[in-house]
Amino acid sequence: MSLYFTKEHEWVRIEGNVGTVGISDHAQEALGDIVFAEAPPSGRSLRKGEEAAVVESVKAASDVYSPISGSVIEGNEAIADDPALINRDPEGAGWFFKLEVSDPSELEGLMGEADYREWVKTL
């Protein structure tokens, strides 16, 4: 199991050929109180960097981009019912969607956890 991050503050956790995607703690902190989240429907095929989900805070609407290409297996219904879950547990229960990874080599372009945490401190 390994965890990767994008410069747009998404994370993807890889277990076998399944990736679970969400937004980082830094991202939820910057967004503030989240009041709406919409995950993609299962079956949707996503390219790396494509708009995959919507998240809205009291302040503004933001897009969530897919960190890697693949086919959506499951959207997280819990965040639709309780969007504040993303604020409370962004890198755990507040995940957005799971996808079947189509090209594992794309992971090489992402940041590892330690690198991401260091980089975020510089922002």
């Binding site: 503030g32 109180d33 009041v35 919409e38 809205e56 805070s57 009291v58 609407a61 639709a80 969007p83």
Partner: protein, 374 residues
């Protein structure tokens, strides 16, 4: 206008905001706190307790001279001649076509008039007043004054120990008070729909006053984010969003600010058009909208009728923390402005159902004296 850090001014409370955890953003040419602990918590705190807002970016203007009330009445449609000493009125600065240049509060203060105007528009307003008022009227821009708003059901209980007697003010009444030997001009007014006060204090004393107010555990500092969601729930328009030069007081549903005498006499900027709109209705009207679902619909979204034709636009919208649902205001064709009218909203190619609803969305809780006139 593109704002860069170099051009942004600092408020007298700048260091205080940062020390209290304020997240600073550019607004109206200043660095201002958008939030401290979080917009939702700050919003709900203000509805339940008392919130302290720094609104020192707003323009505080003092006018005096012979028949200053009559002079201001040429630009503002409100009844200023009948306004009693220490009373304030909501009004608007109008252009000659009846468009709204700014909205403001006007107080009679002895033989002077004290106006509080929006921060982003204050320099333009000052030019308007200089150009359009007679030379017999002098105007002082009180740049050295800071302005605080203390809002919420516990505001009076928190302010009274510091400023004895302030609780005697009723809604839209103002007076001179003292705190720690320093003069404060305090009005019972605000922009949240709650009971509360706006306090004009010398910039060099504002930090000590903010400390004294927040020493009371009922009072917390509140940022611009919650100020916006509170005023939206209260149905109060925000200049530059819900009001601009293209809107008139009739379109904006602010005709309460034009009294019977002024409607009968006219004689204010844009009165020809505004009196005609009062008689025949305006083409568009500002309305409140309850939006179905959870997703906020924000400024710029289109408003469509049953046939899918554009009939207006959303001018403010977002999540209502008090109601736990999205609300919005916007302009629609007047025929579609009746409460209960079903409309469709379009935002980023997605459609939303909405219903026209009377405002405020959350009931006002102003401190009106029993039997006193509104």
């Amino acid at each position: 206008m593109i704002e860069t850090e170099e051009t942004l001014a600092k408020l007298p409370l700048d260091a205080w905001h940062r020390a209290n955890g304020g997240r600073m953003v550019p607004f109206a040419g200043y660095e201002m706190p958008v939030q401290y602990e979080g917009i939702m918590a700050e919003h709900l705190w203000t509805r339940d307790h008392a919130g302290l807002f720094d609104v020192s970016h707003m323009g505080q203007l003092l006018f005096h001279g012979s028949e200053v009330d009559r002079a201001l009445e040429t630009l503002l449609p409100g009844d200023l001649i009948a306004l009693k000493d220490g009373r304030l009125k909501y009004s608007m600065l109008l252009d000659d076509d009846g468009g709204i240049i700014d909205d403001l509060m006007a107080t009679r203060r002895g033989d002077q008039f004290y106006l509080v105007v929006n921060g982003a528009t204050k320099h333009g307003d000052i030019e308007q007043f200089e150009r359009r008022l007679p030379r017999t009227i002098a105007m002082d821009h009180m740049k050295e004054q800071a302005l605080l708003a203390l809002q919420g059901p516990e505001a009076a209980a928190a302010l009274e120990p510091l400023v004895p007697g302030v609780g005697e003010l009723s809604f839209m009444q103002a007076g001179l008070f003292h705190w720690d030997g320093k003069p404060l001009w305090i009005s019972r007014s605000g922009y949240t729909g709650e009971d509360g006060f706006e306090i004009s204090v010398a910039g060099r004393h504002v930090e000590a006053l903010a400390d004294a107010l927040t020493a009371d555990e009922r009072v917390k500092p509140i940022g611009l984010g919650a100020r916006d969601s509170l005023r939206l729930e209260a149905g109060l328009p925000l200049y530059g969003h819900d009001l601009d030069l293209e809107t008139t007081p009739v379109m904006a549903d602010l005709t309460f600010a034009i009294n019977k005498r002024r409607k009968a006499e006219g004689g204010f900027a844009g009165s020809l058009r505004i009196l005609a709109e009062l008689e025949n209705g305006a083409a568009q009207k500002r309305v409140g909208l309850l939006v179905e679902g959870k997703q906020p619909v924000r400024e710029g979204a289109l408003i469509l009728d049953a046939e899918g034709s554009e009939v207006g636009r959303i001018t403010s919208g977002g999540h209502s923390p008090s109601l736990g649902r999205p609300i919005a205001m916007g302009y629609v064709a007047t025929a579609l402005a009746e409460p209960g009218t079903a409309l469709t909203l379009e935002q980023r190619a997605k459609l939303f159902q909405a219903t026209v609803t009377p405002m405020p969305f959350v009931a006002h809780r102003y401190h009106r004296k029993q039997g006193a006139a509104a």
